[in-house]
């Protein structure tokens, strides 16, 4: 079952993907993901775990490496009370699910939970947290697996429509 990593407000892109390693191949950036917040974070995550954070998650840079690294270490979704614009867009584009929740998070660090993406809720025997899924075109991009697949599909439509 997915395990929760709890983070606070304003987790920034230098926390998630530190600038000093950005010029390296992505595989060599993995170990530094969120290391300034939780020492050894990248090796603590198991595939499918989730992050629950506060306001303005992903504030800062346009670096797409931020959601890419979270996905690479196994995080399947990030839930926050709000997201910074660039992180939100990048997250959708690379296929990392960003859910927005309101009110107080009832879970604690290390809790294991179930996530119901059709009912938009995270729950275990003790508590439930409802979240809002991405909507509109964002949802379409996420559902098809990210912006690369979405772009490919649009291009093939354009070509079929004889726009080429």
């Amino acid at each position: 079952m997915p395990r929760i990593f709890l983070l606070g407000d304003n987790i920034d892109t230098d926390n998630i993907a530190p600038g000093g390693f950005l010029h390296l191949p992505i595989e060599r950036q993995v170990e530094h993901c969120l290391e300034s917040v939780i020492n050894g974070f990248s090796s603590m995550v198991s595939k499918g775990d989730i992050i629950i954070a506060g306001d303005n998650f992903g504030t800062g840079s346009s670096r797409e490496q931020a959601p890419v690294l979270l996905k690479m270490i196994g995080i399947q979704a990030v839930f926050a009370t709000s997201f910074s614009r660039l992180f939100f867009r990048n997250s959708i584009n690379v296929g990392l699910y960003p859910g927005t929740y309101f009110g107080t998070n009832p879970f604690t660090q290390g809790d294991t939970v179930n996530i119901d993406f059709s009912e938009n809720r995270i729950y275990n025997a003790r508590a439930t947290l409802k979240f809002n899924p991405p909507a509109g075109i964002l949802r379409e991009i996420l559902d098809i697996g990210g912006a690369i697949n979405y772009a490919k599909e649009l291009i093939s439509k354009m070509e079929n429509d004889g726009q080429e």
């Binding site: 920034d12 000093g20 504030t59 990048n90 690369i148």
Partner: protein, 407 residues
């Protein structure tokens, strides 16, 4: 329907060919794309995945190698080489090496012009607002999407209009205005929004102050911005929101504004700089895309003239572009810096993003005129970065601790 529009609605209407209103999702074609050596290579990789490298983008693409230039290691050299090869195949405009930092340079050389919509791989693309263009930062895959399809979806932002009025204090710059805004509205106070600044006539701020303001609007979460300075004739043609269009208005009277400072670890953690005077610094860094301008160098030199950096403090000065560097030599500013014990480096993003040429060790403290002070931004996660204007940074270099000039 209300025919008056905000500046953002006007630009997104023009670039999408439809009546674009705040909250609308539109497909738009920006006039310009620019990419750099750190985030450009990942755009190329995404473009190859989408279309095998084929592009349909009709606008201009500019490549600037500024982040780790000159290259510091094999990997950074590889990034520049790879980007150069792709740019050559696509006939993109590659700016000659060492010309400067993209956000300052592309305004200086006239690439960014009023009324444009510019898309950049870098979040500080918002700096284009100082030239009357709407700059939007995008992730690498969005840039690749735009290159491959020739268009990209945007949500038309709402607008927050700041009217800056009053009188300007002696050591007050554009940096203090934007830091005060961050102090007032916080680091997500303008999330997804367009921030529009009108600097009232008679307030003696120049183009470089405008650049400093525009650059850090992204620190408040802004998607884009326009900074219209009523004192500059060149700003008359800048787009602005119509009276009667829908925006939130804030009046900023800066008459009593003191130099501001952002404390670790957030650009929104702002107080008067006086409140933290006396904090010991290990490094003073002057110069980046927001504040490596000739005005910044003049301000710093006015404080450092005939003075010397405190022994044990590293003072690093980076003119943002080659032309600024040349002008600073002509005016004797570089001589002043060298006499003061500064190390003057080439135009690069360098230490601002913790990349090279001024990275901080554990527990070190730096005061600087850059735009971000996140944990680990300039080096070790335990290092601490204070953001202030160039006068305050220079005065602190002399004392070896944070100092506001003039008291």
């Amino acid at each position: 329907m209300n025919s008056s529009k905000t500046a953002a609605e006007k630009i997104f209407s023009e670039k999408s060919g439809q009546d674009a209103r705040r909250g609308d999702y539109v497909w738009a074609v920006p006039d310009l794309i620019y990419m750099h050596d750190i985030l450009g290579p990942s755009s190329i990789k995404s473009l190859n995945k989408i279309s095998g490298g084929k592009t349909r983008y009709p606008g201009k693409v500019v490549v600037v190698n500024d982040h780790i230039y000159p290259p510091k290691d094999v990997e950074s050299a590889h990034n520049i080489k790879m980007l150069g090869e792709s740019a050559g195949e696509e006939k993109w405009e590659t700016i000659p090496f060492g010309e400067g930092i993209e956000h300052t340079l592309l305004i200086e050389n006239g690439t960014i012009r009023p009324g444009m919509l510019a898309a950049g791989t870098d979040s500080h693309t918002v700096t284009a607002g100082a030239a009357g263009a709407m700059g939007v930062g995008l992730g690498s895959t969005d840039i690749a999407f735009l290159l491959a399809l020739g268009k990209l979806w945007f949500k038309v932002p709402e607008t927050i209009l700041f009217r800056v009025e009053g009188t300007k204090g002696k050591y007050i710059t554009g940096k203090d205005i934007i830091l005060k805004v961050l102090r007032d509205i916080g680091v997500n106070g303008a999330n997804y929004a367009s921030m529009e600044f009108h600097i009232e006539k008679g307030l003696k701020f120049n183009m470089d102050d405008d650049l400093s303001i525009a650059n850090m609007t992204v620190e408040a979460g802004a998607k884009t911005c326009i900074v219209k300075n009523e004192n500059l004739a060149s700003n008359r043609e800048f787009p602005q929101s119509d009276e009667g269009s829908e925006f939130t208005e804030r009046i900023m009277d800066i008459s009593n504004l003191e130099p501001q400072i952002a404390k670790p670890y957030s650009p929104g953690n702002v107080s008067d700089a006086k409140a933290v005077e006396g904090i010991k610094v290990d490094q003073v860094y002057i110069g980046n895309c927001s504040n490596g301008t000739i005005s910044d160098l003049r301000e710093a030199a006015s404080i450092l003239k005939g003075e010397h950096v405190k022994n044990g403090v590293k003072l690093i000065v980076i003119p943002a572009t080659r032309n600024i560097y040349k002008q600073a030599i002509k005016e004797g500013l570089i001589g002043t810096f060298l006499d003061a014990g500064a190390t003057v480096g080439p135009s690069t993003c360098g230490a601002c993003a913790g990349l090279h040429m001024g990275v901080l060790a554990e527990n070190e403290t730096c005061i600087t005129n850059i735009n971000r002070n996140f944990m680990g931004r300039m080096g070790h996660p335990s290092s601490r970065v204070y953001l202030a204007n160039s006068y305050v940074a220079a005065a602190s270099a002399i004392e070896g601790f944070i100092k506001v000039p003039g008291d």
